[in-house]
Every structure is written in C-alpha cells, then in structure tokens.
C-alpha cells in the first residue's frame, strides 16, 4: 500500500473504530453509566452535555477528514513536473480572524446554557426536600436522617451506613461532609459528584424517580480502599419509605436464643469500643432494660465506625464492598426487608463473606487498623475471634431487623 493510501486507511479505520466504540459504549449492564441518567438533575446535565458531545464529535470528525483530504490532495507526487515549490503563502488574515472568532462564538453559545445550568443545579432544594447528612470517612459512607418519623412532634434520628434509602420523586437535600480526608459522593444516574471535604458542608440535590437501586462509588482518591467505598441509593415508594423509617426507630429488642444472647454479650465486650447500636440495652443486665454505656470512640482516626442499628435492613456491609444480601434477582426482589422474609436469611444472607469479615476484616478489605486498635487506626482490626464467637455474633446480628 502506498503511504498515502495507508494514511487514509488508518485515519478512516480509526474513525470507524471511534464511532463504533461510542455506539457500543451504551452497554446494557453498566450501573454507573452516565449516559443513562435517571434522576432529574442527571437528566438536566445530560440535556446540556449531549449537544456539546455531538458538536465535539462533529468538529473532531471534520478535523480528521480535513487532515486526510489535505494529506491526499497535496502530497508531493513522484511524477510532479511542476514547480518544485508550492505558492509560498504566509497567511490569510481574514481566514485567521474568522477561525478565531467562529469558535469563540460557538463557545459563547455553549457558555450561556452552561452558566444557567450551573446556577440552576446549585439552587436551594424545594421546601419539601428530605435532608440527609452524608458523612464520608475511610472507607465507608454514613447517612443520618433527622426528621419526625412517627409524627409525635419530636425529631427522630436515624443513623445508617452504606445504603442511602430515599423516598421516590421527592428532592433529597444531601449535606455532604467528611470526617477525615477528601472523598466524593457520586451516584451517576442521579447527579454529578460532589466532594466531601473535612471542615466543610457541600450541598447536593438528588431525586430517585423509581423504586430501584442506583449505584455509585467514591470518586476522589482517599487512600487504600478508595476503590471499595461503594454507594447504593435505594429508592422506595413514599409509603414503603415511611415503613422503613418507622422500622429504623423501633427500639432495640433484646435477642432470644442461646447463641444470639451469647453473641450479644460478645458484641458488647468486643465491638462496642467502636460500633454502636442505638438504644441497645446492657446484656449484663438484660431484664432491667438499662441502656448500655458505650465508651467513647478513641480507636479510630475519623471518630466513627458504621452504626449497626437494624443492620439486617441493609443490603451491603464493609463500606458496601460486600453484599449483605446476595445480589441475585430473587434476593434483590425481596428489597430492604429481605431479612425478615421467611426464606430471606436462609437463601439470601451472604453468610460466608460476613463470617470472613468478622474473622479477619483486614484480610478482606485493605485498611490501616494497625496491629491492635489504637488512636491511629483507620478501619477494623482482626480481633482473633473464635469460631464460636463468630457464630454467636452472626446469630445476634441476624436479630437486628
């Protein structure tokens, strides 16, 4: 093949590949696909971005085609008998001004809707928005709700982790914060990302259009397990959300069953230097109903670890690295109440992985807990639990519904 033909072929095939890539790019199973916006904010971004993509693709193709055409047309031919030199053109002031001004005008046209969208997306959410505090820390997300769930006039607090449960078709006003380093909260189907910066509060509004799961992950490098700080937004119909919230504030119920009771004691002795279960009574004095007194959390740089209240109403654990509820279609169909279904724990509980986590957490997820818990710990330690202790703990956790 001659050099010219090769050049053309290569450019054309690069182009074709590029287009094919882009077309195929809309894969079917891509839960974090930014090109399939679901929520209204993500859709607004998409409405702005898509024309710009098309303009960019058009300009790109135009430049490629022009390059190929110029390369073909003006190639020095072997049989060239004309002048050795082409016309020694030094420039063309008018043309250069034109191709300075034209792109500037085009960009100005893009700038106007861009600025409008920036301010529109940043506006304060509607009055009926549900506010949720989002805390990022190495390497998991905490969510706190403060609203009157049961209508008794008092604000209730729900502290949960990993799964962000929200009512559908209602603006959710996220207040994004960090307890240690910079993280970034991102659920692509719902909105662009927003950084979680320690010492600051960053607002972000999302809205789940349907009762389904919207997946995301941390998108600002935050250390070892940055890749495993997953986000799951769970949309629920308003009635279901209300039921979920009411369930979250049901007071702690002491477990029955020998293993679960033993696990409760193990939890209190091994885990409560960091973990919390809201309203947990003291296993050493179960009948009195005395609340367990938690020691302050000193052995964690961020000062908090996941709150385990109603753990079994979640679908993930360990910073959402692992599924708590197996990720099969049948289990997903059980929703957030999977554990209270008769077959739920039996068929959908990711018992093996959960036990592995209790057995040796640092081996399951890259963390920095140190040899033993200390104020420099970041993540969960290996507590060298016995298999019996693990079985008991699992039995106890299963009761947290």
């Amino acid at each position: 093949m001659t050099g010219r033909a090769r050049l053309t072929f290569a450019k054309a095939s690069a182009l074709a590949v590029g287009l094919a890539l882009f077309a195929v790019g809309c894969a079917s199973n891509a839960p974090q696909d930014t090109l399939k916006p679901a929520g209204p904010q993500a859709k607004q971004i998409d409405t702005l971005a898509m024309p710009v993509f098309y303009i960019a693709i058009f300009v790109g193709i135009a430049v490629m085609v022009m390059t190929v055409l110029v390369a073909r047309k003006f190639r020095k031919r072997k049989d060239d008998t004309g002048d050795e030199f082409p016309a020694q053109v030094h420039g063309n002031f008018k043309a250069e001004i034109a191709w300075t001004i034209a792109p500037a005008v085009l960009l100005a046209c893009v700038a106007v809707p861009t600025v409008f969208t920036v301010f529109d997306l940043a506006k304060k959410p509607a009055a009926d928005a549900l506010t949720v505090e989002v805390y990022g820390q190495q390497w998991w997300w905490e969510y706190r709700y403060n609203f009157d769930v049961d209508g008794d006039g008092k604000v209730d607090q729900i502290i949960t982790a990993n799964d962000l449960v929200v009512p559908t078709n209602r603006p959710i006003a996220l207040r994004i914060m960090s307890r240690d380093v910079i993280h970034s909260w991102w659920a692509p189907a719902l909105n662009g990302k927003k950084d979680a910066v320690p010492g600051r509060v960053h607002p972000l509004t999302i809205e789940a259009p349907e009762a389904k799961e919207y997946i995301g992950q941390c998108t600002e490098f935050c250390g070892l397990s940055h890749a495993e700080m997953r986000i799951k937004v769970v949309g629920m119909e308003p009635a279901d959300f209300q039921a979920w919230a009411e369930k979250q504030i049901v007071p702690f119920q002491a477990p029955t069953g020998e293993s679960a009771v033993a696990g409760w004691s193990t939890f209190a002795s091994q885990c409560t230097s960091c973990h919390r279960i809201t309203g947990m009574t003291d296993p050493s004095d179960p009948d009195s109903g005395k609340l367990f007194e938690y020691p302050p959390v000193v052995n964690q740089v961020s000062g908090e670890v996941p709150n385990l209240t109603k753990l079994m109403t979640r679908t993930t654990f360990a910073g959402a690295k692992f599924d708590l509820r197996l990720d099969t279609p049948e289990c997903k169909a059980l929703g957030e109440n999977w554990a209270s279904e008769p077959e739920g724990i039996k068929t959908c509980f990711n018992r093996e992985q959960f036990e592995a986590w209790l057995r040796n957490a640092p081996a399951e997820k890259a963390m920095h807990p140190g040899e033993a818990p200390s104020p420099e710990s970041r993540g969960m330690n290996n507590f060298n639990l016995t298999e019996d202790q693990i079985d008991d703990l699992v039995a106890f956790f299963i009761t947290l519904q």
Binding site: V63, K76, G91, E96, A111, I182, Q217, C218, A227
Partner: protein, 683 residues
C-alpha cells in the same frame, strides 16, 4: 591588563606566573569521555543529557504503566495490592510529568534555543548545568522511595489532608515532596537562564518577531515556569513543614481548609500542562513547514496564540475543582474561561492544517508524528471542551474520561510531537539519521497502540469507571474495554522497543558506512532543506555552534539565504546550500569553560532532602557540598587553563576590543581577539 604601579607593582624582571585559580582551576575544555559530560556547561551536551535521562525515566514510568494495565486487564485483579497499586499509579503520573515530558521539553529547548537565535550558548552556562544535575538528582530522590519503604501513594496531585502524616504515614509522600522541590529548582533556574538568553543574546537583526516559532513557544513556556513553579514550591513547603516539623497548615481540626492545597496546586497545575505542550507545539511548527515546502501559515497568529494560551492558562485552574465545593459563581466563571482557552489552541490546529494546505507534502517520519500530534491533540482538546461544561464535568471528573483526555493531549500531543522532533533533529545532534522506514513502522504501531489504549477510556469514563481505583467489579460493563486498553499498552511498549532498536541499528549502520570504530559520524548540515539557523551549521553541531554569528534579516533566515523570489513571486534558488552553510572549522572561538561546581553543588541537595526526612546530619553532609559548590563557583577563574583565552594570555590593549559584539557569549573577556577576527565575528 595594564601595568600596575605603586606598592603592588612587581619588581622589574619578575615574570607573571599564570596558574589561574590555583586549587579552583577549572577542568580543561579538552577533557574527553565521561568527565567531559560531568563538567560540561555546553547547552548541547546538557540537552542530550536531559533527553537521555528523560528516556531512562520513561522506561520506569512505562513499566509502572504496564503494571497498572496488567492489574486492570480483568475485574478483581490480583497482581497488585491496593497499597502497591496506589504507589504505582502515583509514581507513574509523577514520573511521566516531571521526569519525562518536562525534561524532554528541556532537552529540545536547551539544545535548540541558542542555535535558533544564533547564540553560542545560554546566558548562564554553569547554571544550565546546575539545572540538569538538580533535575537528575530530583528524579533519583523521587525514585529512591521505591528502595526506601515505598513510593509516594497520594496521587500525583496529592490532596490534603490525605497527604499528611496521619493518613500517609510512610515516607513515600516525603520523597514526592523532596524530589519535586529539586526538579522545581531545576526548572526555575532554567527559566531565568533561558529567558535571559532569548531577551539578550539574539543574533544581530533577530527581532522577537523573527524568532522561529519553536523559540517563541519555548519562551512562553519559560515564563510559565517562572511564575508557576514557585506556587508549587510554596505548597510543598507548607506540606513539608506539616509532615516533618509538626506544622498545622492542613490540619482541619486546627481550622485549616483542605481546599487551600487544591488551589495552590492547581494554580501551578494548570500552567503546568501548557508548559508540557507548548514546546511540542513549537517542534511541529518547525517540522510541518519543512515537509510542506512552505512557511508556517500565519506566523503572527501562531506566536500570539501561544502567548494567549500562556496568559489565559492562569485563569482556568479551578476547572480541576468543579466538584470540590467551590460554589456556583466560581464554577461558572472558570467554566467560561476554560471554554475560551480552546480558541487560541484551535487557531493553531487550523494554522497547521493551513500550512499543509497547498503545500507539497512529504510524509517523512517527523512529518507523520507531527500530523499525529495535530489529530490526536484535537481529540484530546475536544474532550477538554466537553469538560469545560462544568455540569457535564461533574459526571466526567475523576473518571477514566479524564484519564483519556489528558493522555490524548500529553501523549498524543506532547510525546508524539517530541518523537517527531527526535527524528527531525537527530542528524543535527548526532551526525546520523534514524532509519526512515523503521521510523514509519514505529509511527503506525505507536498510533494504533496509543488509540487502543486510551480511546476506550473515554467509554469507560462515561460508563462510570472512576480513576485511581486498584480494581473494579465484574458486571459494571468495564471488562471489555479495560482488556482492550491493556492490549494497546503493550502495543505502545512494542513501538518504543522499535524506537530504541532504530536508534541502535541506525547508529551501527552509520558507523559501518563511516568506516568503523573510531570514525566520526557526520551528515550534511541540511538534510531536510530546512528553514532555521541550526541547519546552517554542520551535523553534528560543532562545539562552538557558529563560526561567525549570522546577521539576521528575516524570519526563516537560513531559508532566505538559499532561496529568493523571482519577479513572478516564485521561489528560486539564490545560493547553493554548501555555500550558505558554515564550515564549522573556526578554531579560535572562545567558549564558556567547563566547571565541576554545578554537579558538586547539585550533589549536596539530595542529601539535604534525605536528611530532612531521616536525620539532620545528612543535611549537614549535603550542605557541605552545597556550600563548597557555591564557594568554588564564585572563586573559580572565568576560564579553564587550556582555553587560551584567559585574561592573562596574549593580551591586546586595544580598547576597541572592549566593545565585543553583543551576540558573543557572556564569558568572553575583552580585547583578546585579533582585530581581523573581530570584524569576522559578525557576518
């Protein structure tokens, strides 16, 4: 030197014994071998050393890239742990930016700028050598981390507070900090040097608007370095004091705002990317006209768009921070400013195409790489325009879409341009040409491998794959394109193996043709029928550059000495190339003398950095070399003993000799040249 009277006069009959400098004597300029490289102050040797060092670091950064791609070829990769991956990707980015792309730019700028302006060397030759050695030692310090507990692991932009000791307790980030403080010194010293050179040492008649485009782009780059590096240095000092001496600049509990680091870093970081690309823009602005057989289209627009990019580059930094919580007013302002910086860049692309339009194009290896830059940079630039739309960027930032963008502009842009520059100037520098056919094969494999590696990353990013993640899950749609990307990365590796083989094989071939071992390699001065002054002297470049400093009358001065225009405005030859090209045989040219002290001074600096990290006694050790270096630098005589041009030699009290030509190098003492040579110094 006039005779001294009075008490200091020598007694009659006493001879002046010349031993310039005594213990501080400079190395002889006739040294050969490795010693001549270690003590050189010759901008050409320094340029070659920058290039060689950059290629070495390119291998390291390339291996780091291949490790990344191997880890990410499949979901749940097990090759690298999270910790090791974080080190590898951080070091890959840091190495490629600071130890590869910037030094390759420095290689070209150091070698070519003095030649293109008709000078014999730069304004401060010893500082030039210092820049190189400090850079090299900075690269050594950064990479010493691998042997001393692990590489830096906070990402190349190393945000606070993750970059602090609480969250990054290992020394990796300290090495990042120290290594880059040293390379920063190198760049800053170099900027002062090259700016002074261009502003003061141009050949007679070379006004600024008669300088080649490459020199202009390099000048803008130096100004960017001059103002950007100190900002990074300031941020790094704050970090150093936090990490090593208990300061609280980035401690949130003490009231710090982590965004301070982001702002400081990106005020440096954005001009930094123009620092990386502008020299490559300059390179192809030299190549394309030569192989199109017509001048660069719109020289004034090319110059002013470069200046505009340099200037506007200061006003866009927070486009790296659209998701960082700076608030809608900042976001909107930076979104708009970022869109407009696309305008001067677009002008360049169109001007290059217009240069090719109506030309008689030869697709030599340098030309193909240059066209590669034009097309690949366009793709990268267009994805950049999509980032400028801030709301869209909140979906794109920190994903592989961004990784795709910057690799298209840095690799497809800067590196393609630089490889083209190597093919173009190799004959001038080394006296032999790289094989053309191999060069073209090299190009195609690189083009294919490059697009296979980074093209799919656009898709991965838009499908939501974040960057800086050591692994990804199955079932997210990331599998296929990650695998393709890995295949592409190894294709790139193959293309560079071909490049290195080309260097070796072409050298062997040329040596054989010259008559074997010991024979010097030479080539025609002007193998490409080129346009600028460096082609007017022999290949390889004589050590003294120009026999006589040319007087410049136009842009593309060399071209216009070969070709004039007839009445119809067509180009006609007015002189044979051999008659225009200088012979390179001037023997009595005074050049800046070699010196030990740049490397002596530079040698102390890494010890100071290791000392700051480990034990202050190392600082004392390093300080000895730094102080010795400075002292020796001040005290050494201005010339070396074998130079023959020292103040004490064959003096001529001719006062007119004091008015040496402004184009001569700064070190030349007055009045040592015979009058006839004075006249011949300017042509």
């Amino acid at each position: 030197m006039t005779a001294i009277d009075g008490p200091l006069a020598l007694g009659a009959g006493d001879e002046v014994k010349t031993r310039p400098g005594g213990v501080f004597a400079r190395p002889s300029s006739s040294t050969t071998g490795w010693r001549s490289w270690v003590t050189t102050v010759d901008h050409k040797k320094i340029g070659i050393m920058y290039g060689a060092a950059a290629l070495f670091f390119f291998l390291i950064g390339g291996i780091e890239a291949l490790l990344i791609r191997l880890q990410l070829a499949t979901p749940n990769g097990k090759l690298l742990s999270a910790d090791l991956y974080n080190q590898v990707y951080t070091m890959h980015g840091t190495t490629m930016i600071f130890l590869v792309v910037m030094p390759i730019g420095a290689a070209f700028m150091n070698y070519l700028m003095p030649l293109q302006i008709g000078a014999r060397d730069v304004a401060f030759p010893r500082m030039n050598a210092l820049s190189f050695w400090v850079f090299l030692f900075g690269g050594v310090v950064l990479n010493s981390s691998w042997l001393l507990g692990g590489g830096a692991d906070g990402g190349w932009f190393n945000y606070a507070p993750n970059n602090g000791v609480i969250f990054s307790p290992s020394h990796g980030i300290d090495f990042w900090n120290m290594g880059l403080l040293l390379t920063g010194i190198s760049s800053l010293v170099g900027a002062v040097n090259l700016i002074t050179t261009v502003l003061n040492m141009r050949a007679p008649g070379m006004t600024l608007m008669k300088m080649p485009v490459f020199t202009w782009m390099s000048l803008v780059t130096q100004f960017l370095l001059l103002f950007a590096i100190p900002v990074l240095t300031a941020a790094q000092f704050l970090l150093m004091f936090d990490r090593l001496f208990g300061a609280q600049f980035f401690n949130v509990e003490q009231g710090a705002d982590p965004l301070l680091w982001e702002h400081l870093f990106w005020i440096f970081g954005h001009p930094e990317v123009y620092i990386m690309i502008l020299p490559a823009f300059g390179v192809i602005s030299e190549i394309i006209p030569v192989f199109a057989r017509k001048p660069i289209f719109g020289y004034p627009f090319m110059v002013f768009s470069g200046i505009a990019i340099g200037f506007m580059g200061w006003g866009v930094w927070a486009h790296h921070m659209f998701a960082s919580g700076v608030g809608p007013i900042s976001v909107a302002a930076f979104s708009v400013s970022t869109m407009f910086i696309a305008v001067p860049t677009g002008v360049k692309i169109l001007n290059w195409l217009a240069t090719m339009w109506g030309g008689k194009l030869t697709f030599s290896a340098p030309m193909m790489y240059s066209i590669g830059l034009v097309t690949m940079f366009t793709i990268g630039g267009l994805s950049g325009v999509t980032h400028a739309v801030a709301p869209a960027d909140t979906q794109q930032t920190d994903t592989y879409y961004i990784v795709a963008h910057f690799h298209y502009v840095l690799f497809g842009g800067a590196l393609f341009g630089f490889v083209g520059g190597w093919y173009f100037w190799w004959p001038k520098v080394f006296g032999y040409a790289l094989g053309e056919r191999t060069g073209k094969i090299n190009f195609w494999i690189l083009l294919i491998g490059f697009n296979l590696t980074f093209g799919p990353m656009h898709i991965l990013g838009l499908q939501g794959m974040p960057r800086r993640t050591y692994t990804y899950r199955d079932g997210y749609g990331f599998n296929l394109w990650n695998f393709v990307s890995t295949v592409g990365a190894f294709t790139i590796a193959v293309s560079f193996l071909i490049f290195f083989w080309n260097i070796y094989a072409s050298y062997r071939k040329a040596k054989k043709a010259a008559g074997g071992k010991g024979k010097k390699l030479t080539m025609p001065a002007d193998p490409w029928d080129a346009r600028s002054l460096e082609w007017m002297i022999p290949s390889p470049t004589p050590v003294h550059n120009f026999d006589v400093t040319p007087t410049v009358q136009s842009l593309d001065e060399f071209w216009h000495r070969k070709y004039g225009e007839d009445e119809a405005g067509r180009l006609v030859r007015i002189a044979a190339t051999e008659d225009v090209v200088q012979k390179g045989d001037a023997t009595d040219v005074h050049l800046p003398s070699p010196s030990y002290y740049p490397i002596v001074l530079a040698f102390g600096l890494p010890w100071i950095t290791w000392g700051l990290i480990y034990n202050l006694w190392f600082c004392a050790f390093g300080a000895v070399f730094v102080l010795a270096g400075i002292y020796g630098w001040i005290m050494e005589p201005s010339t070396d003993p074998s130079d023959g041009h020292s103040h004490e030699d064959d003096h001529d009290d001719d006062p007119s000799g004091d008015e040496a030509s402004a184009a001569d190098d700064a070190d030349e003492p007055s009045g040592d040249a015979a009058p006839t040579e004075e006249a011949a110094l300017v042509d």
